[in-house]
């Protein structure tokens, strides 16, 4: 211990104090530093904690495009209307830290493994690629001297100057130099440009068309040497029906529509997603689109993704079962097409271009068939051919004529301008020297009750209702002052049938028709017989269905059921939801009033003087309907002869008469340019043929099975 004592210098008291003070000073400094840490932590975790928590939800998890297939679309009997076809695809996912060098090297590797189509490579791509491959030569294109010259301009920012230099470099690449790019280089470029086109963390398809099994195998084997590359299944959307209302989707190359970029991006779509572009595909986008896989990218120190963890597995989209029946649709399309072609061969048909037939179930609004056809000249053969114009059934509107008289009559009851069983005199009326008359009664004087007025289609009976609405006193030969509010009264009442308003169909782009703006008395009378405002074929179907359903206006629907994807491809998946029946409103009329109108519609088919008398003679079913003829004008777009007077034919009805299960409307616009002579029964004939088809198919189904649709089997 002696030795130690000598070596260790004991502290003198003064020195001790000195050291103690300095130590305490140090200790206080450390205390201050640690307090700083705690203050900063408090600020981050307590004051700003919620902000960080929120930003976390945004940044860490990324929804990626995985190959979750879109939902399929079936008709009500299980027939596939839109299918997905699987195909092999090779994808590449870049990260935010991937360099062009890495991508180029990768593209070279891939090029040795697969054949890539080089058609999409542009001149610009080639130039950029040449610069990438020849950095030294590219730098020489704009010599330092010239760069210095360019930099002298003080008005330009560094960025502008660089852009200018880049542009000059590009422009100065000669064709010979571009020609030095070998065929292999071009193939590498074709792959490289696809890789470049992707967005960080979003798989970009390098090749999906014509990936051979061998290519898939060699790439799959080498995935560990190809960071970011993956082999997956891509899906092609295949339409098995040519109906336009099924709509279309964008291709992955097109990505989300430019017009709605922000809308889709806000909903977690990525730019190269396939989305519904029109009609059903667009309207039910939310159901059809699959749920994306949510992944968390595990990154190393440098931000490279080393692993991708799936947080939430993706799900395929929901399958949709439509209310339409493909067999019925097909048969009815044939009915309309054949009729249209035959008509077009007749005289005075220069304006005739389309025909429509809508058939729906008045009890629940299910659309059984939407048929819209256009007749066009095939430029190559010079023959008339038929084009699908299904969407015309709710995007085009026409003056429909007398078919609206049911609504006029019920409006009359409603507004006190007519009573059940009321008899009015049908005789030509004279307003300020201009005569207006019923078609069936050009000159005479006929007493009609309300049933016969509908059955025989009396214009004058309707005029008298209109006059009642307009609180006008009719003095033959004189003017007819009316209360202009009558237009509103009429339209409000018509709207209760769906006329002039949206029907509420589950498809986008519905048109409500033209609402006339003139308010001269004559137009009120025209309105009452369907010669003023225009209505779509679908509105007409909803209108007659409302009467058939005793006053319930039901929104027509094309979607019947939403189902889970089929588990085995044999039967439809589990039912998620059956779309509900949407009753939009109820007519204010009493049941007796509606029944009275129905009797009138029955008279049309079965009354001695009915406008379509004998139409259903011998048919195994009953029905009730209403015909219509409107004088219309066809706008040719031709300067010398811009407007031609034409005839529109229409027909509405329901069947069977006692217990309606279908309601239908037919419109054949601009059937003839000769307003005196035209095939006036056309619309009725289409209606009859459609009914025949419907009831015949129903009979066959009943004979085959227990009557219900075998709605779980998928029919390819």
């Amino acid at each position: 211990m002696k030795r130690n004592q000598k070596k260790t210098e004991p502290l003198k008291a003064g020195q001790r104090q000195h050291i103690a003070f300095r130590m305490n000073f140090l200790f206080v400094a450390i205390f201050v530093l640690f307090s700083l840490l705690i203050f900063r932590l408090g600020y981050m975790q307590i004051v700003k904690g919620e902000d960080y928590a929120r930003s976390l939800e945004r940044t860490e998890e990324i929804a990626v495009n995985t190959s979750t297939p879109r939902g399929r679309i079936f008709d009500r009997s299980g027939k596939v209307l839109i299918d997905n076809e699987a195909k092999n695809a090779i994808t590449y996912t870049k990260t935010s830290s991937t360099t062009t060098k890495e991508m180029l090297a990768l593209a070279r590797k891939i090029a040795q493994l697969i054949e890539q189509d080089t058609q999409r490579v542009t001149m610009g791509d080639k130039r950029d690629f040449w610069i990438l491959l020849n950095p030294v030569k590219a730098a020489e294109k704009v010599p330092k001297k010239e760069q210095a010259e360019l930099s002298k301009d003080d008005n330009k920012s560094q960025k502008d100057i660089q852009r200018e230099i880049n542009q000059l470099t590009r422009d100065r690449i000669t064709d010979e130099e571009l020609a030095t790019l070998s065929a292999e280089d071009i193939e590498v470029l074709a792959i490289y440009r696809e890789m470049m086109a992707g967005y960080a963390y979003s798989p970009q398809i390098i090749k999906s068309d014509g990936v051979t099994d061998q290519e898939l195998a060699v790439v799959s084997e080498r995935l560990d040497q190809l960071p970011g590359v993956n082999t997956t299944t891509d899906w092609d959307r295949v339409k098995k029906s040519d109906s336009a209302i099924l709509g279309s989707t964008t291709s992955p190359v097109e990505g989300i529509p430019r017009s709605h970029v922000n809308y889709f991006l806000a909903r977690d779509y990525s730019r190269n997603d396939r989305v519904g572009r029109s009609y059903l595909e667009s309207y039910y986008e939310d159901l059809l689109k699959g749920q994306k896989t949510i992944v968390k990218n595990i990154k190393d120190r440098t931000g490279k993704v080393v692993e991708t963890k799936t947080v939430k597995e993706g799900k395929p989209g929901k399958d949709l079962v439509l209310t339409t029946d493909t067999d019925l649709q097909k048969a009815l399309e044939d009915v309309v097409s054949n009729k249209l072609l035959r008509l077009k061969q007749g005289p005075n048909t220069s304006a005739l271009e389309s025909a429509f037939l809508v058939m729906l179930d008045p009890n629940n609004g299910e659309i059984l068939s939407l048929v819209g056809k256009k007749v066009v000249k095939d430029e190559s053969t010079g023959r008339w051919t038929i084009q699908d114009y299904t969407y015309g059934t709710f995007t085009s509107a026409y003056e429909v004529g007398s078919t609206v008289k049911l609504a006029t009559m019920l409006t009359g009851y409603n507004e006190g301008a007519a009573r059940i069983g009321e008899v009015k005199i049908d005789q030509p009326i004279n307003i300020g020297g201009r005569y207006k008359r019923s078609l069936f009664n050009p000159n005479g004087r006929v007493a009609l009750n309300d049933i016969a007025a509908i059955g025989r289609s009396s214009n004058v009976y309707m005029f008298r209702i209109a006059m009642g609405l307009g609180k006008a006193t009719y003095r033959p030969g004189q003017g007819l002052p009316i209360d202009k509010k009558a237009f509103d009264t009429f339209r409000e009442n018509f709207a209760a049938f769906g006329l002039g308003v949206k029907t509420g169909i589950d498809l986008p782009g519905e048109y409500t028709g033209v609402t006339g703006t003139e308010t001269v008395p004559g137009k009120l009378l025209d309105f009452s017989i369907g010669q003023f405002d225009t209505y779509t074929p679908l509105q007409m179907a909803q209108y007659v269905a409302t009467i058939a359903a005793d006053g319930n206006r039901i929104a027509p629907k094309i979607l019947k059921e939403i189902r889970e994807p089929s588990p085995d491809g044999e039967i439809l998946g589990e039912l998620i939801e059956e779309t509900p029946v949407k009753v939009l409103n109820h007519l204010k009329n009493s049941q007796a009033e509606i029944d009275q109108v129905k009797k009138g519609m029955h008279y049309v088919y079965y009354g001695a003087n009915g406008t379509a008398s004998g139409l259903l003679a011998g048919a195994p079913y009953t029905g009730a309907g209403k015909t219509g003829t409107a004088e219309s004008f066809y706008y040719t777009g031709n300067k010398s002869n811009p407007v031609i007077p034409t005839i529109n034919l229409s027909h509405v009805g329901y069947a069977p008469a006692d217990k309606p299960e279908v309601a239908y409307s037919v419109i054949v616009p601009y059937i003839s340019t000769n307003t005196k002579r035209y095939p006036s029964a056309t619309a009725s004939e289409i209606a009859k043929e459609a009914l025949d088809v419907y009831f015949e198919q129903k009979r066959q189904r009943n004979a085959k099975a227990d009557g219900a649709y075998p709605d779980v089997r998928i029919q390819k």
Partner: protein, 394 residues
């Protein structure tokens, strides 16, 4: 001659208990951190092993008396410098003894022992050397004057410059700063007059601030001094990580998001969601902040503070200057590590590769700290109480 003979009383149980608490915290946090599956090893088991080996180091260091360390101080210092020079000259190619990692040459890959980071150990050697220098100087010049103080400062500076240059070359900014802070703390306690210290520290602070300012607003000037744009980027990614979200900026954003989103009470054990690379080593505090929130983070900081408090108390109870300086050096080293590591996680300081003492995973770091703590144990263990009495009676 009444040195307490009962070993149990001479052992610093408090210090041992504090270290045990750190070990428990370390196992839990590493256990959670490794679930991010950046690596496939079980780091908890390895860390337990390091702690057991560390205890042996403590026992070994404790066995020797402080006087012996003082005697051999220059050899320790010399060995440290040798290691650094060796690391610099050793081949750094792939598979070779000093293979570069993350573009720095900091590690020695030794057979059997594994990978070690010499700079970690050299810190403790440096502390011993510096303590020896200062205590010897103070013993010799009993009458302090301005001149002797300046002379001491000069000697200290010379002693610092050699390892500092070698470490800067690796490059390893974090460890360089550790050396500077150890030196600063010992300089303060060494008793050098404030008349010298105030201008020196003011100048140092001004220089650091000036470089920082220039890296933002006068880069041309710094270019002439030999700084590279890479270093400016570092400053940017520290001050504005959201605009420069690459490498460090990216890690900083993640660490801050992790800690901030922990809020007051944290998300709970294993409930972490933010992925941060190397979160079992340098970014381990982000795990604490995220899983245990403000409360957990404060508890850990408080634990460090208790450790520092205890070490200060030990230092004040010691009787020979050499031990006091060693203690000071150890306090400075631990303080700087804690402040820098937590600070870089919460954007208070720029990111450097500095682990959190006793908690971060890693053998080198833990051994280095255990080495230092072993010195404290040794001082406490071999302390003679009679001198204390004698002093008071003086």
């Amino acid at each position: 001659m009444k040195q307490t003979n009962r070993l149990g009383e001479r052992f610093d149980w408090t210090l041992a208990f504090i270290i045990l608490l750190f070990a428990i915290v370390s196992f839990f946090v590493i256990g959670s951190a490794q679930t991010s599956e950046q690596y496939t090893q079980n780091f908890v088991l390895k860390q337990v092993r390091w702690y057991i080996l560390g205890s042996f180091i403590v026992a070994m260091v404790m066995y020797f008396e402080p006087d012996q360390y003082k005697k051999f101080a220059w050899y320790f210092y010399g060995f440290g410098i040798f290691l650094l020079v060796f690391l610099m000259l050793a081949p750094g190619g792939p598979g070779q003894i000093a293979e570069m990692r993350y573009s720095a040459k900091r590690w020695l890959h030794l057979p059997v022992i594994g990978t070690i980071q010499p700079a970690e150990f050299i810190k403790t050697f440096f502390i011993i050397g510096l303590a020896k220098l200062v205590s010897t100087h103070n013993e010799r010049s009993l009458n302090r004057t301005f001149t002797t103080d300046l002379l001491l400062l000069g000697k200290i500076a010379l002693m610092l410059v050699v390892p500092l240059c070698l470490i800067m070359k690796q490059p390893d900014l974090g460890t360089s700063l550790v050396f500077i802070s150890i030196t600063a703390a010992i300089v303060i306690v060494s008793g050098i007059s404030w008349k010298i210290l105030v201008p020196v520290f003011t100048f140092g602070a001004a220089a650091a601030g000036g470089i920082l300012w220039m890296s933002l607003f006068a880069q041309d000037m710094l270019d002439k001094f030999g700084f590279s744009p890479y270093q400016f980027k570092r400053v940017y990614s520290w001050l504005d990580p959201y605009s420069y979200p690459t490498d460090e900026g990216y890690n900083l954003i993640n660490a801050m998001t992790a800690i901030g989103s922990g809020q007051l009470t944290g998300k709970g054990f294993l409930e972490r969601v933010v992925y941060i690379p190397e979160n079992h080593t340098d970014f381990i505090f982000s795990v604490i902040g995220e899983e245990y929130g403000f409360i957990g983070a404060c508890l850990v900081i408080t634990l460090y503070f208790i450790l520092i408090y205890h070490l200060t108390k030990v230092a004040l109870s010691l009787h020979d200057t050499f031990s006091v300086y060693v203690c000071t050096g150890v306090i400075a080293m631990i303080t700087f590590h804690v402040f820098e590591n937590i600070g870089m996680n919460i954007q208070l300081l720029p990111i450097t590769g500095i682990p959190l003492p006793f908690i971060s995973y890693g053998g080198s770091s833990l051994f280095s700290n255990m080495l230092a703590i072993g010195l404290i144990f040794s001082m406490k263990f071999h302390q003679r109480t009679y001198l204390f009495d004698a002093d008071d009676n003086d």
